[in-house]
Symmetry: C2
Subunit: 228 residues, 2 copies
DNA sequence: CTAGCGTATTTTGGATACAAAGGACCTATG
DNA sequence: CATAGGTCCTTTGTATCCAAAATACGCTAG
C-alpha cells in the first residue's frame, strides 16, 4: 500500500503551494483541489507528514487545513488516526439537496421581501458572468460564479445565519456539483434569471417556487449523471 | 489594561484543565465555559500565550481550540491579530431564531413522516430528564437535555445534514439561550411533549406548527429577558 | 504643542523536535 | 497450521523555538 517514496519520484505529483502571505489559505485551497479533482481517493488515509512534504510546508498549516476540511465535510478526522477522505454517497447528496431546497426557498422568500432594484441588477450581473463561463466551456469558473450568485442572494435576503448555512451546504455540494454542472450550465442561468425576476417583482411565492424548481432540477441532473 | 501577571497572582482565576487523553477536547470545553460564563468579556482580545499559561498547556492545543470556537461562532478570528470574543447582538439572535424555526419545522415534518413508536418513547424519556432538571433548578443540565432532545429529533427525521445544521444553530443559541432558559424551562417541556404527540400521530402539519410555536415562544422569552 | 515617522515590543504564524498511542508484522506455542 | 502474544514502526498529539507582522510608544521636526 505504502508506495516507496524515493526522493525524486514524487516531486511532480503535487505541486508545492505558492508561499504567499496566508499560508494556511493556500494549503487549504490546494487540498480542496486535491480532493475535488479526485487525485485523492475517497476513504484514503491522509498522512500529515506526507502532505506537508509534498506541499513543501510544515505539518502545522496542514493540520489546520485538515481541521477546516473536516468542518466542511471534505475529510473525516478520527482521533489518533488522522484524516480520511470523505466517502460521498447518493444518500448524502439527496440529504444535501433537501437541506439546500429548504434554505434556498427561505432565502428567496426573504430576498423577494427586500425587493431592491439595485440588488437585482447586481444579481443579474453575476448571472451573466456564469453564462459567459458556460459558453466558454469553463466549468470551474461557472461553479465559482454559481457560488457567488448564491452568496449574493443570501446577502440580499439579509440573514447572515441563513447565508452561512447556505454556504456550508454549498461547499459540500461542490463535490457532487462538479459532476452535474456540465449538464446544467445552459439551463441553470435561465432559472437564476427567472428567480431574479420574481425577486425584483417582490413576489415571494413565485421566488420560492423558482428556488425549489432550480434545486429539483439540479437533483434530477445529478441522478441522471451518476446513472451513466 | 494588561494586568501584572505575577506567578502567584493568577493561579486561581482559571483552573488548569485536567490532562485527560484528548487534551484539545478539554481545552475546548474549558474555553467554552470561560466564554459562556462571562469571565471573558465580549470583544476581549484572547492572547494565545496567556490562555496557554493559564490553562497549563502549550499554545498548540489552544490554537486548535480557538479555530473550533470560531467555527462555532464563539470567537472571531482576525488574521495576524488573533481571537476576539464574539459580541452577541439582538439582531443576530433573531436571525438565529429565524434559521432555527425553519430547520426545526422541517425536522419536525420529517420526523412525523417517519412516525415510529419506539422513537417517540425515546424522545419522551429525554424530555422527562429535562423536566426533572427544571424541577431541581439545574439550568445547565436542562440546557444539555434540551440539546439532546433536538439532536434526537434530528436523528429521527433521518436527514444527517439537517441534523448538523440544527446542531450548528443550537450551539450558537447556547450563548443566548442560557439567559432565557430559566424563564422557559417549565413550559418548554410541555411544548416538547405536544410536539412528540404530533410526531407519534404522524401529523406533519401539527408537528410543524408545534415546532414553530416552540421557537416563537423562545424568541418572546428571550426578548422579555433582555429588556429587563 | 501637534503631527508624522521610526523603532521597539508584543503577538501571531510557521517550523522543528519530542512523546505517546495505534497498527502491523513476526514469532512462538497449542 | 492457526492463533495469541509481544515487539517494532508508523503516525498522530503536544511542546518548544524561530521569524514575520501588527500595534504602541517615543522621538523629532514643523
Amino acid at each position: 500500500m505504502a508506495v516507496d517514496m524515493q526522493s525524486a519520484g514524487e516531486a511532480d505529483l503535487i505541486r508545492p503551494v505558492q508561499r504567499a502571505a496566508p499560508l494556511r489559505q493556500a494549503v487549504y485551497e490546494s487540498m480542496v483541489e486535491l480532493v475535488v479533482s479526485g487525485r485523492l481517493n475517497p476513504g484514503e488515509h491522509l498522512v500529515e507528514t506526507d502532505l506537508a512534504r509534498q506541499l513543501g510546508v510544515s505539518r502545522q498549516p496542514v493540520r489546520e487545513a485538515l481541521h477546516r476540511l473536516q468542518a466542511e465535510g471534505w475529510v473525516d478526522l478520527r482521533p489518533n488516526q488522522g484524516a480520511f477522505v470523505h466517502e460521498p454517497t447518493d444518500n448524502e447528496v439527496d440529504q444535501l439537496l433537501d437541506a439546500r431546497e429548504l434554505l434556498e426557498m427561505e432565502t428567496a422568500r426573504l430576498a423577494a421581501r427586500s425587493a431592491d432594484a439595485e440588488a437585482a441588477a447586481r444579481l443579474r450581473a453575476i448571472c451573466h458572468e456564469g453564462e459567459a463561463a458556460v459558453k466558454a466551456g469553463d466549468t470551474e469558473v461557472f461553479i465559482t460564479a454559481n457560488n457567488r450568485f448564491h452568496a449574493a442572494l443570501a446577502e440580499v435576503a439579509g440573514n447572515a445565519v441563513l447565508a452561512e448555512l447556505s454556504a456550508i451546504v454549498g461547499r459540500r455540494m461542490r463535490w457532487y456539483y462538479r459532476l452535474a454542472a456540465p449538464l446544467r450550465g445552459e439551463t441553470s442561468c435561465a432559472e437564476h434569471l427567472e428567480l431574479i425576476d420574481a425577486i425584483a417583482a417582490g413576489d415571494e411565492k413565485r421566488a420560492a417556487k423558482a428556488a425549489r424548481q432550480h434545486t429539483e432540477r439540479t437533483r434530477v441532473a445529478y441522478h441522471r449523471t451518476v446513472q451513466s
